[in-house]
Structure formats: structure tokens, C-alpha cells
């Protein structure tokens, strides 16, 4: 399939022996714009980390189509705001895929940085120290960095947190612009109205996918109800998920268990 960007094959991701994403199967189409929704602890951020590769799967795998480059905006950035850097230094990190460790930044690169800042409404902020930015300005700065990464696959984890309404509008416009450029985008969002208005496709998660497909279908009341019944807490003594035994209740996507090896999964691409 040439128009597949991501393939999840029996993917289990988690912490310790407890899965946060349990046996996920399915594909993300190239050029699709997907909202990832679900309650706290339903595995949304975990899925993002698994796709980027900063979290290794416990079982199964994420297969990226060859040549696909990902850009990732995490929910909890490990950004050190006290580091003596200017906005331009932070955004220029986005040139890494293009220039790597040693490549010189050219005049063109610097122009692209300015353009990216302009695109998120921060034109002229180049020389501002990052510790003087407001929360929303910082978020837009990080969007500018994603813009500069020029990635085919863009993963945004709750990008609208602590961002005012006008900025949300600006950022949504930017996401739609990317969508128009045939980039593949996955966004973790909490605001269901925002999802209904702006995202063609939705993945509703509750450790396993409750529903996945067209937004209007996915966000039907009975699906939402099922997602809400999801039990967030780990049970320390939860039974082991063994081959041939169905330890999880309502699994939307069927999967087989014969290749089920917790903890020895191959690394994500």
C-alpha cells in the first residue's frame, strides 16, 4: 500500500508491565488529519511517544513508510526555559533534519526561520530571550520549529493547552495549511467541539481503540459512553495477557495472539 504512512501491528506500549496502549492494529493514511481523543490515561501521549520512537514497544511494532520524517511536539516538553537562548536559537533547532550536527546554517536557512516565526505571528521576536516569552508565545515558537522541520508526519500532543482562543484559531489554520500540503498529521485534543469542526478523522482511545474513523461516526454518544467507562487505574494484580486468552474486553480491531511477546518487541523504525 503506497498511501499508508503508519502501520500499527499488534502494538503494545506501556510502563513497567502495564500496557497503556494494548494490541493496537491499524493504519494511518498519508495526508490524513487525525484527532486522537480519550480520557486522561487512555494512552494518547504514549501512542505519540511510540510513533516517534522515544518509547520502545513492549510488543508489536510501529512501521513508518520508508522516507517518512516525523516532527513531534510533546505535551510535557523537557525544554529548559532558563537556558540562555533566544527565540531564533530555539526555532533553529528545527533545522536539524536539514543540516544535522555540522552543516552550516545558510542565509536561506535564516530566512526560513524568520518566515516560520512570521507564520505563527511572532515576526520580529528573533532576538527575544526564551525566558521572557508567555506560555502561548512559547507554544507558537515550538510550532514554528515544527514548521521548520518540514516533516511528512506531524505529531502534536495537546498543542492547545494554555493557549488563548485567538491563538488556537491561528494554530488550527496552520494545521489545516499543513493538511493542504498533504502532510500526515495526528493531534491529541481534549475539546470535542474543536475536533468535530476541524478534524476529518478521529481515533477514540481507552487503552484500546474504542472507535476509529470518520469523526462524526467515531464521536457518537454510545462510543463516548464506552470510552468513559474505561478504567484508568492500573491494577497491580491484573492478570497477565497470555496468548490465546482474551484479557481485554471490547476490542474494536481484531488481532491474533500468536506473536505476542511482551518486552522483546522490535524497535520502532
Amino acid at each position: 500500500m503506497t498511501n499508508t504512512c503508519l502501520t500499527f501491528r499488534d502494538l503494545t506500549l506501556g510502563y513497567g508491565s502495564h500496557p497503556a496502549i494494548h494490541h493496537l492494529d491499524g493504519t494511518i493514511r498519508k495526508g490524513s488529519l487525525t484527532a486522537v481523543v480519550g480520557a486522561n490515561g487512555s494512552g494518547k501521549s504514549t501512542l505519540m511517544k511510540g510513533i516517534v520512537g522515544v518509547l520502545k514497544p513492549m510488543a508489536g511494532e510501529v512501521i513508518r513508510a520508508p522516507g517518512v520524517r516525523a516532527a513531534y511536539l510533546p505535551q510535557q516538553s523537557e525544554l529548559d526555559r532558563s537556558f540562555p537562548a533566544r527565540v531564533v536559537d530555539l526555532v533553529s533547532l528545527g533545522l536539524w533534519p536539514r543540516r544535522g550536527l555540522l552543516g552550516r546554517y545558510t542565509k536561506e536557512d535564516r530566512d526560513d526561520v524568520s518566515k516560520a516565526l512570521m507564520a505563527v505571528g511572532l515576526g520580529g521576536f528573533e532576538k527575544r530571550p526564551i525566558d521572557t516569552l508567555s506560555g502561548g508565545q512559547l507554544q507558537r515558537t515550538l510550532f514554528a520549529r515544527v514548521l521548520l522541520q518540514d516533516a511528512d508526519l506531524i505529531l502534536l500532543d495537546e498543542p492547545f493547552n494554555a493557549v488563548d482562543a485567538k491563538t488556537v484559531g491561528d494554530l488550527i489554520a496552520l494545521i489545516k495549511h499543513w493538511h493542504g500540503e498533504e502532510r500526515t498529521i495526528m493531534v491529541v485534543v481534549h475539546d470535542l467541539d474543536l475536533v468535530r469542526q476541524n478534524f476529518p478523522e478521529t481515533l477514540l482511545l481507552a487503552r484500546q481503540p474504542i472507535a476509529w474513523g470518520e469523526t462524526r461516526e467515531t464521536l457518537k454518544p454510545d462510543n463516548l459512553l464506552r470510552a468513559r467507562r474505561f478504567h484508568e487505574a492500573w491494577e497491580e494484580n491484573a492478570p497477565w495477557c497470555e496468548p490465546g486468552e482474551d484479557a481485554h474486553g471490547d476490542d474494536h480491531h481484531g488481532h491474533d495472539h500468536h506473536d505476542h511477546r511482551h518486552g522483546v518487541g522490535p524497535r520502532a523504525a
Binding site: 516517534v52 520512537g53 522515544v54 516525523a70 516532527a71 513531534y72 510533546p74 516538553s77 523537557e78 525544554l79 529548559d80 537556558f83 540562555p84 537562548a85 533566544r86 536559537d89 530555539l90 533547532l93 536539524w96 533534519p97 544535522g100 550536527l101 555540522l102 530571550p129 520549529r145 522541520q149
Partner: protein, 291 residues
């Protein structure tokens, strides 16, 4: 004019040991001060101190087997330092324990072993020598070693600069675009050890941390960008070395502490008068703009 010459130039012009001390300490500043800036920015300022203790058993082992020879002591210190740096770094990277705790555990064990080894044969004079060094007795071997260490440090910094800045500024981002995160962390720890080992012949294990951290801490009060901060730290290091050696010469003080205390004076001056220091921030009232 003559008096100025007598005070500042003559000691270095007339005495070979002063020239060597000057060259050695200036070279040390060139490598150690930028490393100190990154240690500070990574909130690992005290790790430098811990590492300095950690190299003691290696240096002591070299001293026990070969006497007061620079090469065995340096190599020994390097090995001990690398073991502690990699061990502590690995524990913090791959377990839930933070680097401060793992570093503390590793260096305390290492220090205890070192003191034990020195006490088995040496007298306390020997221990003092290892701990406090002798900048006024640098031989050609020591100068060559320091020169090599500075060259390695500057070349490594030039190559890995972008990754090092990214690893400090936004480690998760670096992990998402590159696999260099962990290697760069360990290369950096290696450079810390290398510079501490380079400094301990001249300044001793304890004071070599001073030349690394004090200029960096002082430079923080003057600028909000990394590159100028490194340059400024090196310049402060240079000034401290010259001032410390002159102080030591004229007042017959031990040279190591004199250099470090000179850097200390710059540090306190920077706290008070730096562009980001106390006086600017608290006492002088700025006029403010409308937007």
C-alpha cells in the same frame, strides 16, 4: 611605569617557573571554562566537585606505584573519573534515579577508596600534594599534557556544539530527531573528567573545579547567550590566573588558592555589578517603555 613593570611583567619575564605556571594555567582556562559554563547550565555545577573527588583513587594508585610522576597519576585519575562518570551517567539515564544522587553515591565510594589508598603508604603531606597540586612546579611533560587536553576539549566542543546546546535546551527534541543525545552526554562527562585531570597537577583535584566553575558562574551575570558566556568565562579565567600568580609571587601565598580566590573576587563583583546582577535588578530603577 617601572613600578608597574616590576609588579606585573617582571615576575613572568625573570623566572622560568612563573612563565610555565602562566602558560599552564592559561591553557587550562581555555579548556575548562567553557566546560564549566555547560556544567552550570545543565545544573551540574556540583557534579564537577564530585568528579574531582572521584578521580582521587586513580591518582592515588598511580602515586602508590610510581611515586609523584605525572603520567601514571593522570592516567589513573582519568580511568577512575571515567568509571565514575559513566557509571553515574548510566544509572541516571537508564534507571529512575537522578544524576545528582547517583553521582553522589559513586563519588563518595570513589573518594573513600582514594583516601584509603593514600593512607596505606603515604603521609598526609603526599595527600595534600594530590589534593592541592603545585602550579609552580609544572614540567614540560605536564605542559604537553595540558596542551593536549585543551586541544581535545576545544575540537570536541566545536564538533558537538550544536548537539550539546540542543541536549541542554531541549533533550526530548534532540531524541526525536537524532540518536546523539546519550553519546553527547557521555562525551561531555568525558571532557569534564579530562579537564579536571589536566588541572590537578597544577591546581590539585579540589581547586581545578574552582577554575572550571567560578568563571562560568561569574559570566552568567553578564550575558544571556551561550557563546559570549563561554568567551567571557575564558577571559575571566585568564584574568584570575594572571592575578592569582602575581598575588602568589608578591605575597608568598600558595598559587592554587590565590588563583581560585581571584576568580572568587570576580564572581562576587559580578553578582553585584553584572548587567544581570543584584544592583541592576534591585537598586537602580529602570525607566520602562510603553510596550
Amino acid at each position: 611605569m617601572d613600578m608597574l613593570y616590576g609588579l606585573v611583567i617582571a615576575p613572568f619575564a625573570d623566572f622560568g617557573f612563573m612563565q610555565r605556571a602562566l602558560i599552564g594555567s592559561l591553557m587550562l582556562s581555555l579548556g575548562a571554562c567553557p566546560i564549566g559554563v555547560f556544567l552550570m547550565l545543565r545544573r551540574m555545577s556540583l557534579s564537577g566537585d564530585a568528579m574531582a573527588h572521584a578521580i582521587l583513587p586513580g591518582a592515588a594508585a598511580g602515586f602508590l606505584f610510581y611515586g609523584l610522576e605525572i603520567l601514571p597519576m593522570t592516567i589513573g585519575g582519568l580511568i577512575a573519573g571515567v568509571i565514575v562518570a559513566l557509571g553515574a551517567g548510566a544509572v541516571s539515564r537508564f534507571t529512575i534515579q537522578r544524576e545528582d544522587a547517583s553521582m553522589a553515591a559513586f563519588y563518595l565510594i570513589s573518594l573513600a577508596i582514594g583516601v584509603l589508598m593514600v593512607s596505606i603508604r603515604g603521609s598526609s603531606v603526599d595527600l595534600m600534594h594530590v589534593l592541592f597540586g603545585t602550579v609552580l612546579a609544572l614540567n614540560d611533560e605536564a605542559l604537553t599534557l595540558i596542551g593536549g587536553i585543551v586541544a581535545v576539549t576545544l575540537v570536541s566542543l566545536a564538533i558537538f556544539w550544536r548537539a550539546l546546546v540542543a541536549e541542554c535546551l531541549d533533550p526530548l527534541f534532540l531524541r526525536s530527531v537524532s540518536r546523539l543525545g546519550s553519546p553527547v552526554h557521555f562525551i561531555f562527562l568525558g571532557l569534564v573528567v579530562l579537564n579536571l585531570v589536566g588541572g590537578f597537577q597544577a591546581l590539585g583535584t579540589l581547586l581545578s573545579v574552582g577554575l572550571m566553575m567560578l568563571p562560568a558562574a561569574a559570566a552568567r551575570f553578564w550575558t544571556a547567550r551561550v557563546e559570549p558566556m563561554c568567551v567571557l568565562a575564558v577571559l575571566i579565567g585568564f584574568a584570575s590566573c594572571v592575578a592569582g600568580l602575581l598575588l602568589s609571587y608578591h605575597a608568598s601565598l600558595p598559587s592554587g588558592p590565590a588563583i581560585i580566590l581571584s576568580a572568587g573576587v570576580v564572581y562576587f563583583a559580578s553578582i553585584l555589578f553584572g548587567t544581570r546582577g543584584i544592583l541592576r535588578a534591585r537598586i537602580i530603577h529602570h525607566r520602562h517603555r510603553t510596550a
